[in-house]
Symmetry: C2
Subunit: 199 residues, 2 copies
Amino acid sequence: MDFFPSALETLIDKFASLPGIGRKTAQRLAFFILSLPDSEALSFADAITEAKHNVRCCAVCQNLTDSELCVICRNESRDEGLICVVSDPKGVIAIERSHEFNGRYHVLHGVISPMNYVGPEDIRIKELVARVADSEVKEVIMATNPDTEGETTARYISRLLRPFGVKVTRLAYGIPVGGSLEFADDATLMRAIEGRMEF
Amino acid sequence: MDFFPSALETLIDKFASLPGIGRKTAQRLAFFILSLPDSEALSFADAITEAKHNVRCCAVCQNLTDSELCVICRNESRDEGLICVVSDPKGVIAIERSHEFNGRYHVLHGVISPMNYVGPEDIRIKELVARVADSEVKEVIMATNPDTEGETTARYISRLLRPFGVKVTRLAYGIPVGGSLEFADDATLMRAIEGRMEF
């Protein structure tokens, strides 16, 4: 038995449909929206509409952008011969935060995941292959997540790119900086020992 | 340094401005909105606009409604002589869930809280007094939250209503059903002993 007006119920339902938002939180958020001044609530609605209308994928790297090319692909000072492949736009932000990379990106928008019915043709792999085929790419760095699906996707792509004679590398595995040996898991430690480097 | 398109940044900002939603969660929600089909994303935006336009306070009990009177005030079978006073619309839902109450409600939309600069004139107290003065109310049940502010508000209102000769009661304090004595706090146990009842 619901005693909220239907427009409010609808709003609660919408919030509850978001990932990680339960019914109670959805209620709290909907009440918060009702408590906002009209202009602010409407600007929230506008933000959704605008984001949906204006945000699309960069024609080259598939990163999110509001123009034909993303800011990174428009930046001539960045090395076109180096492509870092990430599974989603958040990966771009993470790598950019390191200030260590001055190449371009390629955003796959997913990873190969048979469990979720995602095959190689469902993510932006062919666009990557076309880029490597068409331009002077020297190295492709695979920076998918270090989990099974990310790993599988990286291996699949590296096999696809082999015929083009491009160097395909992968981010190093190892113990995180500032972490503690004690808390490193076995697989990470194994990789850290395998990948040990000379001082 | 942000590499998200500005429309996406705006949407993330909007989500992050909601209570209890941090930056990371806001990002996740904004990406989820982008991943939705156009129609669903726009219906989310519409839900906000609609809720803001259509939801208002019931002319009698101040509960949220999309018409002049709320469903409870329109229901003739409910006892007009009994008013349950709650601090917000969620209180109405809570009491309704008990299926124990067949009177009307009065929603204060807040509690007296000097710390937050909320005085008696900032919440819907005068509307309650007007209701009690104008109609045949026999009993007013105070069901504000059992905390200092809820208690203060309840006491303030009961003093205001005394001249009208109406009976003012309060929800019983005590140990929660299904709870464990061991985990009951001292104040609750004290109230439970004070309010003990004969078998």
